[in-house]
Amino acid sequence: MTSVCEPLVRVQAGDFDLATEARRLTDGRRDVGAIVSFTGLCRDEDGRLEALELEHYPGMAEAEIGRIADEAAQRWPLSGLSVIHRFGRIAPGENIVLVVAASPHRRAAFEAADFLMDYLKSRAPFWKKEHAAGETEAGWVEAKDRDQEDMKRWER
């Protein structure tokens, strides 16, 4: 029986650093053959968006990401897995979410990172509100059917 990695999950207002997080998964190890990372950023929607406000459910956000990460760690032979999700006001160009998956071989790392993002989008309790440039009214982002379909790709 191979050992299952213990994922690192953080939900925070502050920024994160990709290089630091990648190094955390390789420092002192000789068994890692692949690192795949995904970073989600806030985009300005062709100049329309001034900022995103990310609301979250404290406690459940960490717990739900933890459950998704544990499932990925059971499903693929990972040597390390880190997930960081920010909340609060985030401006275009800033980071929102980071997934870093490390594995002896590339396929597991690619698939685990992809799986994590698909599940995060539809199951982690976060909600985005868009602040439009030049307007005082802000609107909630609507969930896309596409995100549900992305998640279903992983059903066995």
Partner: protein
């Protein structure tokens, strides 16, 4: 029972959370949504399309047929848009 609301559910109800005494015949999540809708126009507006409302019982996702726990925390919110 502690109820917590997020995103537009919170805005439309006008409260982030509240503690309520549920009648004995409110046994499932679906019963809870129906009962809340009767509490006023703000609840009715927030829950007018109950099928889109997502629910967590003690910080875990639950469906509308799920039985309510004896006590704990029920969260109501729109479909999630993180990531």
């Amino acid at each position: 029972m502690k109820l917590i609301y997020f995103a537009w559910v919170r805005e439309r109800i006008g409260l982030p959370e509240e503690t309520v005494d549920l009648p004995a015949d409110v046994k499932t999540v679906a019963d809870l949504l129906n009962w809340l809708k009767e509490r006023g126009e703000n609840y009715e507006t927030a829950l007018e399309r109950p099928e889109v409302i997502r629910v967590a019982i003690n910080q875990e996702h639950a469906d509308h047929a799920a039985p309510l726990p004896a006590n704990g925390e029920i969260a109501l919110f729109p479909p999630m848009t993180g990531g």
